[in-house]
Amino acid sequence: MKEQRHIRLIINGETRSGQVEPRKLLVDFLREDLGLTGTHVGCEHGICGACTILVNGEAARSCLMLAVQADGAELRTVEGLAGKDGLHPLQNAFREHHGLQCGFCTPGMLMTAYDLLQANPTPTEEEIRAGLSAVLCRCTGYHGIVQAVQAAAERIQATK
Protein backbone atom coordinates (compact mmCIF):
# COMPACT_ATOMS: atom_id res chain seq x y z
CA MET A 1 0.00 0.00 0.00
CA LYS A 2 1.45 3.33 -1.05
CA GLU A 3 1.77 6.08 1.52
CA GLN A 4 -1.34 8.23 1.59
CA ARG A 5 -1.88 11.43 3.48
CA HIS A 6 -5.03 13.14 4.52
CA ILE A 7 -5.02 16.82 3.66
CA ARG A 8 -7.46 19.59 4.42
CA LEU A 9 -7.47 23.02 2.87
CA ILE A 10 -9.71 25.94 2.08
CA ILE A 11 -10.41 26.48 -1.60
CA ASN A 12 -12.43 29.49 -2.74
CA GLY A 13 -13.79 29.84 0.79
CA GLU A 14 -14.86 26.23 1.14
CA THR A 15 -13.13 23.59 3.25
CA ARG A 16 -12.11 20.61 1.15
CA SER A 17 -10.14 17.50 2.00
CA GLY A 18 -8.72 14.45 0.34
CA GLN A 19 -6.39 11.45 0.51
CA VAL A 20 -3.28 11.88 -1.60
CA GLU A 21 -0.01 10.24 -2.35
CA PRO A 22 2.76 12.71 -1.38
CA ARG A 23 4.01 12.91 -4.97
CA LYS A 24 0.69 14.13 -6.32
CA LEU A 25 0.97 17.64 -7.71
CA LEU A 26 -1.36 20.29 -6.35
CA VAL A 27 -2.74 21.05 -9.81
CA ASP A 28 -3.60 17.38 -10.36
CA PHE A 29 -5.27 17.21 -6.96
CA LEU A 30 -7.40 20.24 -7.85
CA ARG A 31 -8.39 18.85 -11.23
CA GLU A 32 -8.59 15.11 -10.69
CA ASP A 33 -9.64 14.78 -7.05
CA LEU A 34 -11.72 17.91 -6.56
CA GLY A 35 -13.00 18.38 -10.12
CA LEU A 36 -11.79 21.98 -10.21
CA THR A 37 -10.75 21.85 -13.86
CA GLY A 38 -10.66 25.63 -14.28
CA THR A 39 -6.96 25.54 -13.45
CA HIS A 40 -5.14 24.32 -16.54
CA VAL A 41 -2.03 22.19 -16.85
CA GLY A 42 0.33 23.26 -19.59
CA CYS A 43 4.06 22.70 -19.46
CA GLU A 44 4.21 21.04 -16.03
CA HIS A 45 7.53 22.66 -15.21
CA GLY A 46 6.72 26.18 -14.20
CA ILE A 47 7.29 27.97 -17.49
CA CYS A 48 3.86 28.51 -19.07
CA GLY A 49 1.94 29.78 -16.05
CA ALA A 50 -1.42 28.22 -17.05
CA CYS A 51 -1.70 26.53 -13.62
CA THR A 52 -1.13 29.73 -11.60
CA ILE A 53 -3.43 29.98 -8.57
CA LEU A 54 -3.36 31.99 -5.34
CA VAL A 55 -1.78 30.22 -2.37
CA ASN A 56 -2.45 32.12 0.84
CA GLY A 57 -3.24 35.14 -1.30
CA GLU A 58 -0.15 35.04 -3.52
CA ALA A 59 0.17 33.73 -7.08
CA ALA A 60 2.13 30.49 -7.40
CA ARG A 61 2.54 27.67 -9.90
CA SER A 62 0.36 24.77 -8.80
CA CYS A 63 2.39 22.36 -10.97
CA LEU A 64 5.45 23.10 -8.83
CA MET A 65 3.73 22.30 -5.53
CA LEU A 66 2.79 19.00 -4.04
CA ALA A 67 -0.79 18.70 -2.83
CA VAL A 68 0.53 17.77 0.63
CA GLN A 69 2.34 21.11 0.79
CA ALA A 70 -1.02 22.87 0.54
CA ASP A 71 -2.37 21.07 3.63
CA GLY A 72 -3.77 23.86 5.84
CA ALA A 73 -3.41 26.52 3.15
CA GLU A 74 -6.02 28.83 1.69
CA LEU A 75 -6.25 28.65 -2.10
CA ARG A 76 -8.10 30.63 -4.70
CA THR A 77 -8.57 29.33 -8.20
CA VAL A 78 -10.25 30.88 -11.22
CA GLU A 79 -13.54 29.29 -10.08
CA GLY A 80 -13.38 31.56 -7.03
CA LEU A 81 -12.73 34.80 -8.88
CA ALA A 82 -16.36 35.75 -9.62
CA GLY A 83 -18.29 36.97 -6.59
CA LYS A 84 -21.98 37.11 -5.70
CA ASP A 85 -22.34 40.21 -7.86
CA GLY A 86 -21.11 38.43 -10.95
CA LEU A 87 -17.80 38.36 -12.76
CA HIS A 88 -14.68 39.92 -11.32
CA PRO A 89 -13.66 43.21 -13.01
CA LEU A 90 -10.70 41.36 -14.55
CA GLN A 91 -13.01 38.76 -16.08
CA ASN A 92 -15.33 41.44 -17.46
CA ALA A 93 -12.40 43.35 -18.89
CA PHE A 94 -10.99 40.21 -20.57
CA ARG A 95 -14.37 39.72 -22.24
CA GLU A 96 -14.69 43.35 -23.31
CA HIS A 97 -11.14 43.65 -24.64
CA HIS A 98 -10.93 40.27 -26.33
CA GLY A 99 -8.32 39.14 -23.84
CA LEU A 100 -8.65 35.52 -24.92
CA GLN A 101 -9.14 33.30 -27.91
CA CYS A 102 -8.70 29.62 -27.09
CA GLY A 103 -8.82 30.26 -23.35
CA PHE A 104 -6.11 27.85 -22.36
CA CYS A 105 -3.88 30.43 -20.66
CA THR A 106 -6.80 32.50 -19.35
CA PRO A 107 -7.08 31.02 -15.82
CA GLY A 108 -3.37 31.59 -15.31
CA MET A 109 -3.54 35.06 -16.86
CA LEU A 110 -6.42 36.05 -14.59
CA MET A 111 -4.83 34.79 -11.37
CA THR A 112 -1.47 36.32 -12.31
CA ALA A 113 -3.12 39.64 -13.16
CA TYR A 114 -5.02 39.50 -9.86
CA ASP A 115 -1.76 39.20 -7.94
CA LEU A 116 -0.11 41.83 -10.12
CA LEU A 117 -2.84 44.37 -9.31
CA GLN A 118 -2.69 43.42 -5.66
CA ALA A 119 1.07 44.16 -5.55
CA ASN A 120 0.82 47.19 -7.84
CA PRO A 121 -2.74 48.60 -8.16
CA THR A 122 -1.83 51.24 -10.76
CA PRO A 123 0.67 49.56 -13.09
CA THR A 124 2.04 51.13 -16.24
CA GLU A 125 1.65 49.26 -19.52
CA GLU A 126 5.28 48.22 -19.26
CA GLU A 127 4.75 46.84 -15.76
CA ILE A 128 1.70 44.93 -16.94
CA ARG A 129 3.69 43.42 -19.80
CA ALA A 130 6.52 42.45 -17.46
CA GLY A 131 4.06 40.93 -14.96
CA LEU A 132 2.14 39.01 -17.61
CA SER A 133 5.33 37.60 -19.10
CA ALA A 134 4.87 35.02 -16.33
CA VAL A 135 2.15 33.42 -18.48
CA LEU A 136 2.45 32.29 -22.07
CA CYS A 137 -0.38 32.94 -24.52
CA ARG A 138 -0.07 31.44 -27.99
CA CYS A 139 -2.98 33.10 -29.74
CA THR A 140 -3.88 36.67 -28.84
CA GLY A 141 -0.49 38.29 -29.08
CA TYR A 142 -1.08 39.76 -25.61
CA HIS A 143 -2.44 43.06 -26.87
CA GLY A 144 -6.01 42.50 -25.72
CA ILE A 145 -4.83 40.95 -22.47
CA VAL A 146 -2.70 43.98 -21.59
CA GLN A 147 -5.58 46.32 -22.42
CA ALA A 148 -7.93 44.21 -20.32
CA VAL A 149 -5.67 44.36 -17.28
CA GLN A 150 -5.23 48.09 -17.73
CA ALA A 151 -9.00 48.57 -17.95
CA ALA A 152 -9.60 46.34 -14.94
CA ALA A 153 -7.02 48.28 -12.89
CA GLU A 154 -8.81 51.53 -13.73
CA ARG A 155 -12.21 50.09 -12.90
CA ILE A 156 -11.04 48.69 -9.58
CA GLN A 157 -9.48 52.04 -8.68
CA ALA A 158 -12.64 53.91 -9.71
CA THR A 159 -14.88 51.79 -7.50
CA LYS A 160 -12.65 52.12 -4.44
Partner: protein
Protein backbone atom coordinates in the same frame (compact mmCIF):
# COMPACT_ATOMS: atom_id res chain seq x y z
CA UNK B 1 1.38 10.66 -11.28
CA UNK B 2 4.23 12.75 -12.66
CA UNK B 3 7.03 12.69 -10.09
CA UNK B 4 8.53 9.28 -9.30
CA UNK B 5 7.56 7.77 -5.94
CA UNK B 6 9.52 8.94 -2.91
CA UNK B 7 9.25 8.73 0.83
CA UNK B 8 8.15 12.15 1.99
CA UNK B 9 9.17 13.93 5.15
CA UNK B 10 8.09 17.41 6.11
CA UNK B 11 9.78 18.15 9.42
CA UNK B 12 8.70 21.22 11.37
CA UNK B 13 12.06 21.85 13.04
CA UNK B 14 15.61 22.22 11.75
CA UNK B 15 16.85 19.58 14.22
CA UNK B 16 14.38 17.07 12.84
CA UNK B 17 15.39 17.88 9.25
CA UNK B 18 19.10 17.50 10.01
CA UNK B 19 18.47 14.20 11.79
CA UNK B 20 16.63 12.93 8.68
CA UNK B 21 19.52 14.06 6.50
CA UNK B 22 21.99 12.29 8.75
CA UNK B 23 19.95 9.12 8.41
CA UNK B 24 19.36 9.23 4.63
CA UNK B 25 22.42 11.15 3.36
CA UNK B 26 22.73 10.84 -0.40
CA UNK B 27 19.41 9.03 -0.71
CA UNK B 28 17.65 12.24 0.24
CA UNK B 29 16.93 15.38 -1.73
CA UNK B 30 16.10 18.56 0.13
CA UNK B 31 13.07 20.47 -1.16
CA UNK B 32 13.08 24.23 -0.62
CA UNK B 33 10.90 26.46 -2.82
CA UNK B 34 10.71 23.78 -5.49
CA UNK B 35 11.09 26.09 -8.49
CA UNK B 36 14.03 24.02 -9.81
CA UNK B 37 13.65 20.64 -8.11
CA UNK B 38 9.94 20.17 -8.87
CA UNK B 39 10.46 20.45 -12.66
CA UNK B 40 13.25 17.86 -12.37
CA UNK B 41 10.89 15.56 -10.46
CA UNK B 42 7.99 16.18 -12.87
CA UNK B 43 10.19 15.14 -15.78
CA UNK B 44 11.71 12.32 -13.76
CA UNK B 45 15.18 13.68 -14.38
CA UNK B 46 15.72 13.23 -10.66
CA UNK B 47 14.31 10.34 -8.64
CA UNK B 48 15.43 10.62 -5.03
CA UNK B 49 14.23 7.79 -2.76
CA UNK B 50 13.57 10.31 0.01
CA UNK B 51 12.34 13.89 -0.15
CA UNK B 52 12.91 16.16 2.85
CA UNK B 53 10.67 19.19 2.53
CA UNK B 54 11.82 22.25 4.51
CA UNK B 55 8.69 24.30 3.86
CA UNK B 56 7.15 23.63 7.29
CA UNK B 57 10.22 24.92 9.16
CA UNK B 58 9.03 28.42 10.02
CA UNK B 59 12.20 29.13 12.01
CA UNK B 60 14.24 29.19 8.77
CA UNK B 61 12.39 32.21 7.36
CA UNK B 62 13.56 35.58 8.66
CA UNK B 63 15.44 38.74 7.75
CA UNK B 64 17.29 40.48 10.55
CA UNK B 65 20.13 42.89 11.16
CA UNK B 66 22.72 41.50 13.56
CA UNK B 67 26.44 42.07 14.23
CA UNK B 68 26.91 44.36 11.26
CA UNK B 69 25.31 41.84 8.92
CA UNK B 70 21.98 41.32 7.28
CA UNK B 71 21.10 37.72 8.06
CA UNK B 72 18.53 35.93 5.97
CA UNK B 73 17.11 32.53 6.84
CA UNK B 74 17.50 29.95 4.08
CA UNK B 75 13.75 29.43 3.62
CA UNK B 76 13.00 33.12 3.22
CA UNK B 77 11.00 33.52 0.02
CA UNK B 78 12.32 35.68 -2.79
CA UNK B 79 9.01 37.52 -2.67
CA UNK B 80 9.57 38.37 1.01
CA UNK B 81 13.05 39.67 0.18
CA UNK B 82 11.64 41.74 -2.69
CA UNK B 83 9.11 43.48 -0.45
CA UNK B 84 11.39 43.85 2.60
CA UNK B 85 12.05 47.50 3.49
CA UNK B 86 15.17 46.40 5.35
CA UNK B 87 16.62 44.73 2.24
CA UNK B 88 15.67 47.62 0.00
CA UNK B 89 17.25 50.10 2.38
CA UNK B 90 20.42 48.22 3.33
CA UNK B 91 21.08 45.88 0.40
CA UNK B 92 19.60 47.53 -2.68
CA UNK B 93 21.66 45.24 -4.95
CA UNK B 94 19.95 42.20 -3.43
CA UNK B 95 16.57 43.88 -3.94
CA UNK B 96 17.31 44.73 -7.57
CA UNK B 97 18.61 41.22 -8.31
CA UNK B 98 15.51 39.67 -6.72
CA UNK B 99 13.16 41.51 -9.09
CA UNK B 100 15.04 39.84 -11.98
CA UNK B 101 14.48 36.26 -10.75
CA UNK B 102 11.88 34.50 -12.93
CA UNK B 103 8.48 36.07 -12.36
CA UNK B 104 6.48 37.11 -9.29
CA UNK B 105 4.65 33.72 -9.04
CA UNK B 106 8.08 32.02 -9.08
CA UNK B 107 9.36 34.34 -6.35
CA UNK B 108 6.30 33.56 -4.23
CA UNK B 109 7.76 30.09 -3.63
CA UNK B 110 11.46 30.37 -4.50
CA UNK B 111 13.84 30.79 -1.56
CA UNK B 112 17.28 32.30 -1.12
CA UNK B 113 18.74 29.13 0.39
CA UNK B 114 17.30 27.02 -2.41
CA UNK B 115 18.65 29.28 -5.14
CA UNK B 116 22.14 29.34 -3.63
CA UNK B 117 22.19 25.58 -3.01
CA UNK B 118 20.99 24.85 -6.55
CA UNK B 119 24.01 26.91 -7.69
CA UNK B 120 22.99 27.65 -11.24
CA UNK B 121 25.84 29.91 -12.39
CA UNK B 122 23.40 31.98 -14.47
CA UNK B 123 21.17 32.71 -11.47
CA UNK B 124 21.13 36.13 -9.78
CA UNK B 125 21.63 35.24 -6.11
CA UNK B 126 24.95 33.38 -6.48
CA UNK B 127 26.47 36.40 -8.26
CA UNK B 128 25.12 38.79 -5.63
CA UNK B 129 26.46 36.59 -2.82
CA UNK B 130 29.91 36.56 -4.42
CA UNK B 131 29.94 40.30 -5.18
CA UNK B 132 28.80 41.24 -1.67
CA UNK B 133 31.16 38.74 0.01
CA UNK B 134 28.30 36.97 1.72
CA UNK B 135 28.87 34.10 4.12
CA UNK B 136 26.79 30.96 4.11
CA UNK B 137 26.03 29.07 7.28
CA UNK B 138 26.02 25.32 6.68
CA UNK B 139 24.71 22.92 9.28
CA UNK B 140 24.46 19.19 9.80
CA UNK B 141 23.17 17.21 12.78
CA UNK B 142 26.37 17.69 14.77
CA UNK B 143 28.09 20.87 13.62
CA UNK B 144 27.91 24.25 11.94
CA UNK B 145 30.41 25.88 9.60
CA UNK B 146 30.58 29.18 7.81
CA UNK B 147 31.85 29.48 4.23
CA UNK B 148 32.48 32.50 2.06
CA UNK B 149 30.25 32.49 -1.02
CA UNK B 150 33.30 32.10 -3.26
CA UNK B 151 34.28 28.91 -1.41
CA UNK B 152 30.72 27.60 -1.49
CA UNK B 153 30.29 27.48 -5.28
CA UNK B 154 32.38 24.64 -6.70
CA UNK B 155 31.19 24.23 -10.29
CA UNK B 156 27.96 23.93 -12.32
CA UNK B 157 25.11 23.07 -9.94
CA UNK B 158 27.68 21.89 -7.41
CA UNK B 159 28.45 23.38 -4.02
CA UNK B 160 30.61 22.58 -1.00
CA UNK B 161 27.55 21.15 0.80
CA UNK B 162 28.08 17.66 2.19
CA UNK B 163 25.19 15.21 1.68
CA UNK B 164 24.11 15.65 5.31
CA UNK B 165 24.29 19.46 5.32
CA UNK B 166 21.94 22.26 4.42
CA UNK B 167 22.38 26.01 4.12
CA UNK B 168 20.54 27.52 7.07
CA UNK B 169 21.44 31.20 6.77
CA UNK B 170 23.03 33.73 4.43
CA UNK B 171 24.94 36.65 5.94
CA UNK B 172 25.56 39.83 4.01
CA UNK B 173 28.12 42.21 5.52
CA UNK B 174 26.84 45.75 6.01
CA UNK B 175 30.24 47.09 7.06
CA UNK B 176 31.48 48.12 3.62
CA UNK B 177 29.96 51.34 2.49
CA UNK B 178 28.47 50.97 -0.96
CA UNK B 179 26.69 54.04 -2.21
CA UNK B 180 26.17 52.76 -5.75
CA UNK B 181 24.86 49.44 -7.02
CA UNK B 182 23.46 47.78 -10.12
CA UNK B 183 22.57 44.36 -11.46
CA UNK B 184 22.65 44.35 -15.26
CA UNK B 185 21.64 41.24 -17.18
CA UNK B 186 20.46 40.18 -20.58
CA UNK B 187 17.88 37.45 -21.12
CA UNK B 188 16.10 36.57 -24.34
CA UNK B 189 12.70 36.83 -22.67
CA UNK B 190 11.74 38.63 -19.47
CA UNK B 191 12.11 36.16 -16.61
CA UNK B 192 14.36 33.69 -18.42
CA UNK B 193 17.74 32.75 -17.05
CA UNK B 194 20.12 35.45 -18.21
CA UNK B 195 22.68 34.74 -20.94
CA UNK B 196 25.00 36.88 -18.85
CA UNK B 197 24.73 39.21 -15.88
CA UNK B 198 26.95 41.57 -13.92
CA UNK B 199 26.47 42.57 -10.28
CA UNK B 200 28.31 45.67 -9.13
CA UNK B 201 28.60 47.76 -5.99
CA UNK B 202 30.70 50.88 -5.62
CA UNK B 203 31.70 53.38 -3.02
CA UNK B 204 32.42 56.52 -4.96
CA UNK B 205 33.43 60.03 -4.10
CA UNK B 206 32.98 62.08 -7.22
CA UNK B 207 35.01 60.27 -9.84
CA UNK B 208 37.13 58.65 -7.17
CA UNK B 209 36.32 55.02 -6.42
CA UNK B 210 37.08 53.96 -2.86
CA UNK B 211 35.74 50.47 -3.31
CA UNK B 212 34.39 48.31 -6.12
CA UNK B 213 33.00 44.77 -6.03
CA UNK B 214 31.90 42.97 -9.18
CA UNK B 215 30.77 39.49 -10.08
CA UNK B 216 29.60 38.04 -13.40
CA UNK B 217 26.85 35.43 -13.82
CA UNK B 218 26.25 32.95 -16.61
CA UNK B 219 29.75 33.06 -18.06
CA UNK B 220 31.50 30.21 -16.26
CA UNK B 221 30.88 27.20 -14.01
CA UNK B 222 30.35 29.47 -10.99
CA UNK B 223 29.71 33.17 -10.55
CA UNK B 224 33.00 34.95 -11.23
CA UNK B 225 34.40 37.68 -9.04
CA UNK B 226 36.07 40.28 -11.24
CA UNK B 227 38.91 41.31 -8.93
CA UNK B 228 41.14 42.76 -11.65
CA UNK B 229 38.35 45.16 -12.59
CA UNK B 230 37.88 46.16 -8.97
CA UNK B 231 41.57 47.06 -8.67
CA UNK B 232 41.49 48.97 -11.96
CA UNK B 233 38.54 51.08 -10.82
CA UNK B 234 39.95 51.69 -7.36
CA UNK B 235 43.16 52.93 -8.97
CA UNK B 236 41.82 54.81 -11.98
CA UNK B 237 38.49 56.05 -10.66
CA UNK B 238 35.12 56.16 -12.37
CA UNK B 239 35.74 58.28 -15.44
CA UNK B 240 34.02 57.27 -18.66
CA UNK B 241 37.43 56.18 -19.87
CA UNK B 242 38.21 53.93 -16.93
CA UNK B 243 34.72 52.41 -17.05
CA UNK B 244 35.27 51.61 -20.74
CA UNK B 245 38.66 50.09 -19.97
CA UNK B 246 37.13 48.02 -17.16
CA UNK B 247 34.41 46.76 -19.50
CA UNK B 248 36.96 45.75 -22.13
CA UNK B 249 39.00 43.94 -19.51
CA UNK B 250 35.95 42.17 -18.06
CA UNK B 251 35.25 40.56 -21.43
CA UNK B 252 38.83 39.21 -21.44
CA UNK B 253 38.59 37.83 -17.92
CA UNK B 254 35.67 35.48 -18.49
CA UNK B 255 35.80 32.26 -20.47
CA UNK B 256 32.20 31.33 -21.11
CA UNK B 257 31.13 28.12 -22.82
CA UNK B 258 28.90 28.18 -25.83
CA UNK B 259 25.54 26.48 -25.79
CA UNK B 260 22.42 26.55 -27.91
CA UNK B 261 21.42 29.94 -26.52
CA UNK B 262 24.61 31.88 -27.25
CA UNK B 263 28.14 31.52 -28.53
CA UNK B 264 31.12 32.12 -26.25
CA UNK B 265 31.99 35.28 -28.21
CA UNK B 266 28.52 36.68 -27.81
CA UNK B 267 28.61 36.06 -24.06
CA UNK B 268 31.96 37.91 -23.86
CA UNK B 269 30.38 40.77 -25.77
CA UNK B 270 27.48 40.79 -23.29
CA UNK B 271 29.89 40.91 -20.35
CA UNK B 272 31.53 43.97 -21.91
CA UNK B 273 28.22 45.73 -22.45
CA UNK B 274 26.74 44.72 -19.10
CA UNK B 275 29.85 45.67 -17.12
CA UNK B 276 29.74 49.13 -18.67
CA UNK B 277 26.01 49.40 -18.04
CA UNK B 278 26.28 48.23 -14.42
CA UNK B 279 29.19 50.53 -13.63
CA UNK B 280 27.56 53.57 -15.22
CA UNK B 281 24.35 52.96 -13.33
CA UNK B 282 26.10 52.25 -10.04
CA UNK B 283 28.21 55.40 -10.43
CA UNK B 284 25.13 57.47 -11.27
CA UNK B 285 23.30 56.16 -8.20
CA UNK B 286 26.29 56.91 -6.08
CA UNK B 287 26.38 60.51 -7.36
CA UNK B 288 22.64 60.88 -6.74
CA UNK B 289 23.08 59.85 -3.14
CA UNK B 290 25.79 62.42 -2.56
CA UNK B 291 23.73 65.30 -3.89
Amino acid sequence: MKPPAFTYHDPTSLEEALELLRRYGEDAKVLAGGQSLMPLLNFRLSSPPVLIDLNRIAALAYIRQEDGQLRIGAMTRQRTIEFSALVRGRLPLLYEATTLIGHLPIRTRGTIGGSLSHADPAAEYPAVAVALEAELVLQNASSTRVLRAEEFFVTYLTTALAPDEIVVEVRFPLSVSTSGWAFAEFAQRHGDFALAGVAAVLDANGEQCRLARLAAAGVGPTPIRLRTIEHMLEQNGLTEQSIDAAAEKAAELVEPDQDLHASADYRCHLVRVLTRRALRQAAARSREKQQ
